[in-house]
Symmetry: C2
Subunit: 418 residues, 2 copies
Amino acid sequence: MSECYQQALKSKEASRQIALLTTEEKNEALRAIANEIMNREKDIQEANNKDLEYGRNQGLSNDLLDRLRLTHERLLSMATGLQTLIDLPDPTSAQPEKWTREDGLQIENHRVPLGVVAMIYEARPNVTVDAAGLCLKAGNAVLLRGSSSAVHSNKALVSAMRSGLKSCGLPETALQLVNPESRDTVKELGQMRGLVDVIIPRGGAHLIQTVIAQSTVPVIETGVGNCHLYIEETAQKDMAIDIAVDAKTDRPSVCNAVETILVEKKWAEIYGEELIEALLSAGVTIKGDEWIQRLNPTVEPATEEDWGTEYLSPVVAVRSVSDTESAIAHIRTYGTAHSEAIVTENDEAVQSFQDQIDAASVYHNASTRFTDGAELGYGAEIGISTQKLHARGPLGLGALTTNKYVIKGNGHMKGGRS
Amino acid sequence: MSECYQQALKSKEASRQIALLTTEEKNEALRAIANEIMNREKDIQEANNKDLEYGRNQGLSNDLLDRLRLTHERLLSMATGLQTLIDLPDPTSAQPEKWTREDGLQIENHRVPLGVVAMIYEARPNVTVDAAGLCLKAGNAVLLRGSSSAVHSNKALVSAMRSGLKSCGLPETALQLVNPESRDTVKELGQMRGLVDVIIPRGGAHLIQTVIAQSTVPVIETGVGNCHLYIEETAQKDMAIDIAVDAKTDRPSVCNAVETILVEKKWAEIYGEELIEALLSAGVTIKGDEWIQRLNPTVEPATEEDWGTEYLSPVVAVRSVSDTESAIAHIRTYGTAHSEAIVTENDEAVQSFQDQIDAASVYHNASTRFTDGAELGYGAEIGISTQKLHARGPLGLGALTTNKYVIKGNGHMKGGRS
């Protein structure tokens, strides 16, 4: 029996105890966890320094090193995040749906924890704490399979969080770090159907596709966003340009940033140059089709590959389209069903776009950057689902639960009622 | 490009048209389909006779031949089932959740069709019509991959249903039969992530596990039910015996029938013989542990394998337990999280059982046979989910939908608000 399988067995065992906690008991544990993280700040930062040093020696980019770094502010923000979770309603304590059949059989449909959640993610240690907090609040145990480049930081964080659990008399095995040194653990977790209830991969497209291909455990696909902004003929100039710049540059490295702008030619004939200049001034590299290249000599040629690329950087593809149908057809071909926006003053175009675009979020006259649990009012989020099963869009606490029918009779039989 | 892949592409195309239909248009199509099935009764029965003849030559059991058979009554009951669907509310026309942020950004969360549903099932031709009706009513296109032993019947049914669609001016490709002669089509469908939105396998354990193992498309696991009835010390004698007989014999071949009865020794010491006799009189073969074998000489010895067996026939395993905790431990080890029942007058035992048993349906003093869409008031059902993601228990129309955020702004930017 592998170490990972043993951990999963312990996780299932712990999940049964966690599932029975009251909301107040879970909140107390979250409070203890937040305190322990701040109490152990020095240990955590020392561990983090080891990861950073190793990362530098391995030649990690400054961007990746920055994601890995745990400053005082970042630790404080983890603790604040846990406090936010404490304030959110417990999805499992909601009143169940109830109904009674004519023969008196009473049916209740309760929300209950999923059980064991496995998170598979990359080098951001904040996911370790966010995921643990969300899973606990919803009554689940969690197996954390982070990146080997953050192994010391994650060990220190998990050790602090487990102390918090222990101080409340709860099983430490509700939070376990799975060995990140072995690729096999990703595959192993994926095969533990019946033991692991759901796998949530969080990271780049390659990670997510690998997890999906290797897993028989249900997976929630998250995060890959090849998002589009379509500027229709009647779009207000300033609004369209502002939204384009915001959706591309507010935070280019995240999944809800825009990667391709589709511009209707009639609009672009008048305002296209100004759009391009605004993007260039904001430091964006532009790749355009031939029609767009005519607008500005710095526009680089876009290839077929660009339409399918999630740049996650200050680069945007721009394509001219002749009408709303062409824009929709482009998005259907290249989109990842994450966040798609139209800027227009034409109600018919809005309706057609919203009806025909099949995505987690469809926007009218707003930036795609709002596809985010906190922005939609869900508090924390464990990822953004781009699949249709279970939940689509930002995943909150509710997505970490399932349902259970509780049925009460008084000797009710199905065949014996006549 | 394989035939199956081409069918899936056409299905996606058709799903876009079906998704935009009004409830009335969908109901009209269901009515036309029901009429066409009855109009073509002669053709359908001729086709069915071919399947029956082939089945007899292949030595199919009488039980399987019976499942395959399409009588006038069964066709009528298909048509009635479609009428029931017409009367059910359309899940996609429910009012969306709506809220507005302080900055005026309007958020709506709509229920929308899943898109393309692939059903993979065995030799029951009624699933062809049930699944097509449910998928259509929820606004989906459906790929039907039935069994080769029902191929003529399925072709005739699908041909009738497609005529119905055509007569309403709707794309016939919304209903397609996938070649059942090739095992490859099951695997192919499973790899069409992004094109096929969900796979629902319906049938025996082997079929379901094969589909899960081969698919990257999200799968809803259905139907395997190793269900338990636990008779606690304080159970009323008559109630416990009635429920045991009903849960085992009302319809032994279905997934919500009981397969193992756990009896508390203190109860069985007094009433055990009577329980065994009642089951024997109802024609049930009993396999018991040593303690149970003492009660009646006809009880056969149960092996470890029996605890894990879904008999789907008039056979039941009976095991003696010493308390509620042992019963729960047994169910955790051998159960399939489908339907689990306790008969007791002890409130503490009820609470402990309901809290600790992790299953789609947990019963108190009632037969497990009520785990069924129609019994719970959902009208038709496409299967009973035994996994936790998306939906657990009987799947109704709502399980054939997903959500879509529709967000309206007035130039809303995330970074530009300061």
